[in-house]
């Protein structure tokens, strides 16, 4: 899967250089109490068509970073380019927001329409797309996330996972090159989480949309091409999921959960079994265990 991706699209869709974002804390009278550096000297390069995951526990600055990629927040220092456009330049603002769509955590607070199809049409309406094309875009994006049969429903009657898929469709209808998902599954049950992640992976595989998934669920990260782990505003670990999950001890230090199979393999390795590093799925684990058994007995 990952061998095909990025082929022919080698220009970076997102480039972040020396990004620093500070916000000023104030007490009740409005006096400056101190300055918090939410994002500290971050450099990122994301290629068109990539599936990138950003991990980190609460307060690690991952959501703040995400909001820079969509020109909702502006850097205190450093620069962010989206599709070659500097996010700090006002004239690019709407281009950038269209190029890099964003899905937020709470599905209820980002659905504007009272009917599913109207909500999906909201973005194209804002962009001034002609009526006929809006309908085409709504249809194709609802089909892409598997919500087409719900187009006449009220969003209030949908489950969390379905609402989040509608939100994703709302972003796809704007034809973005890149979609940023800021903890889209944090408020969902396991079933809803699976639905959303499946939809996101399909978008990346089929439509070749760049995906930036921000999450603290490790299971969602194993499909990514590249993982960035953030702590205290800085990127502390990066690499393929396998590389990142090899560092079990480091991840534990960062208060991140490691997938259970990875953890089990790690424990076995520490007990002296010849298990490879960075096992991510049950299937890999089973194979490795078979090899291990063959080798030992």
């Amino acid at each position: 899967m990952s061998a095909v991706k990025g082929h022919g699209f080698d220009m970076g869709i997102i480039k972040v250089r020396d990004l620093i974002f500070e916000y000023i804390r104030r007490d009740e009278e409005g006096n400056v109490e101190g300055i918090t550096t939410a994002v500290d000297n971050v450099n990122l390069d994301i290629n068109q068509g990539d599936f990138v995951a950003i991990l980190g526990h609460n307060g690690s600055g991952k959501s703040t970073l995400a909001k820079h990629l969509n020109a909702i927040l502006y850097p205190t220092e450093g620069t962010v380019w989206v599709d070659g456009k500097d996010t700090q330049k006002d004239e690019y603002l709407w281009d950038i927001r269209q190029t890099a769509g964003m899905v937020f955590q709470n599905p209820d607070n980002q659905i504007i329409g009272q009917v599913v199809e109207e909500d999906v049409g909201f973005g194209p309406e804002n962009m001034g797309v002609p009526t006929k094309e809006i309908w085409e875009r709504v249809e194709e994006s609802l089909k892409a996330v598997g919500m087409y049969e719900f187009r006449h429903h009220s969003p209030n009657k949908l489950s969390g996972g379905q609402k989040q898929r509608v939100s994703i469709a709302g972003v796809i209808a704007m034809h973005p090159k890149c979609i940023i998902l800021d903890e889209p599954t944090a408020m969902l049950d396991p079933k809803g989480r699976k639905e959303v992640i499946r939809a996101v992976r399909a978008l990346n595989d089929v439509e070749r949309i760049t995906v930036i998934l921000i999450t603290h669920y490790m299971e969602e990260v194993i499909y990514a091409d590249k993982v960035f782990v953030m702590d205290k505003g800085a990127v502390t670990l990066q690499g393929t999921p396998r590389e990142v999950f090899s560092e079990v001890e480091r991840l534990k230090e960062l208060r991140l959960d490691v997938p259970q199979v990875t953890l089990l393999a790690h424990a076995l390795r520490q007990e002296g079994f010849p298990m490879p590093k960075g096992i991510l799925t049950k299937e890999e684990f089973r194979e490795a265990l078979d090899d291990c058994v063959k080798e030992l007995f």
Binding site: R97, N109, E118, N126, I134
Partner: protein
């Protein structure tokens, strides 16, 4: 318990009235209400009743559904009727202790009762056959000319539709907070009015905080989806008049004319046949 409250309830059906442009329905409702206050004799009300019956029949909304909506205002209706019945000066019909019912009082009370119930039924036909979204769209388009005098028409319509979208969500939230506070022995039901009002504070404060948080999130989500006010915006479901809409306008104007004509013609007819009086 709170979820039972429905606002601007819509009755799904496939009828001519449902398909009409919301602007037609809004305009006609306003005209109908005005007509109720223009007519001041029985003949006018007969015409209005016939017109209402026709529209109800066309709308395919069961009549009992509309009567349900009337229940809420029965109390208001009673008060108006009682006040008019007893406090109108004129020729006395009946005297009970200090209260006097006059002939004028009876006719005024009957007239008002009819006027009010027609008014409620008339406007509930509009809300029952038009989705809230169509209504706000219609309002936006109708008030469009006011943009020239700097009235933020698009913004008002957007606020209305967002408010409608969030009513069920906030209802659910109120329910949740209420249960959470009840679990901590909050008391919403006992005591006098002042005590009960005070009891609502632990319900309202978290509700407001969460509403502001939601508003903030929603604003960010809207901006992230390129929302920048009404300019340059296209419509997914634009409104345009069809032939049936012009027919509807014509019907409403016919109704108005008939009603007014009936008002003049009825006394004349009655006097010709020698039956003077009437209401």
């Amino acid at each position: 318990m709170l979820r039972d409250i429905t606002l601007g309830q819509y009755y799904q059906a496939d009828s001519v009235i449902h398909r009409l442009d919301p602007r037609v329905k809004l305009g006609s409702t306003i005209l109908f209400i005005i007509s109720l206050f223009l007519f001041d004799n029985a003949a006018g009300y007969v015409v209005a009743a016939l017109f209402l019956a026709l529209v109800i029949n066309l709308s395919k909304v069961p009549f009992r559904f509309m009567v349900k909506g009337m229940k809420a205002i029965v109390f208001l209706l009673m008060i108006t009727v009682v006040f008019n019945l007893f406090l109108t000066p004129g020729e006395p019909l009946l005297t009970i202790w200090k209260f006097r019912i006059t002939k004028e009082g009876v006719s005024l009370a009957v007239l008002l009762a009819i006027r009010l119930s027609f008014l409620i039924i008339g406007s509930s036909i509009m809300t029952l056959t038009t989705t809230p979204n169509q209504l706000t769209d219609g309002l936006e388009k109708m008030l469009g000319p006011l943009k020239r005098i700097k009235v933020p028409v698009h913004e008002i319509a957007m606020m209305m539709s967002i408010a409608l979208r969030f009513i069920p969500i906030l209802m659910e939230e109120t329910d949740k907070i209420m249960k959470a506070q009840l679990a901590r022995c909050a008391d919403f039901e006992s005591g006098n009015i002042i005590k009960r009002a005070k009891g609502l504070v632990p319900l309202l404060v978290p509700l407001f905080i969460s509403a502001f948080r939601r508003a903030n999130d929603l604003a960010m989500a809207m901006e992230a989806r390129c929302y920048r006010g009404g300019e340059h915006r296209t419509k997914m479901k634009p409104l345009h008049y069809e032939r049936r809409d012009f027919v509807a306008y014509a019907v409403v104007i016919c109704y108005l004319a008939t009603g007014i004509a009936a008002g003049y013609a009825a006394p004349l007819l009655l006097s010709l046949t020698g039956m003077t009086g009437g209401v």
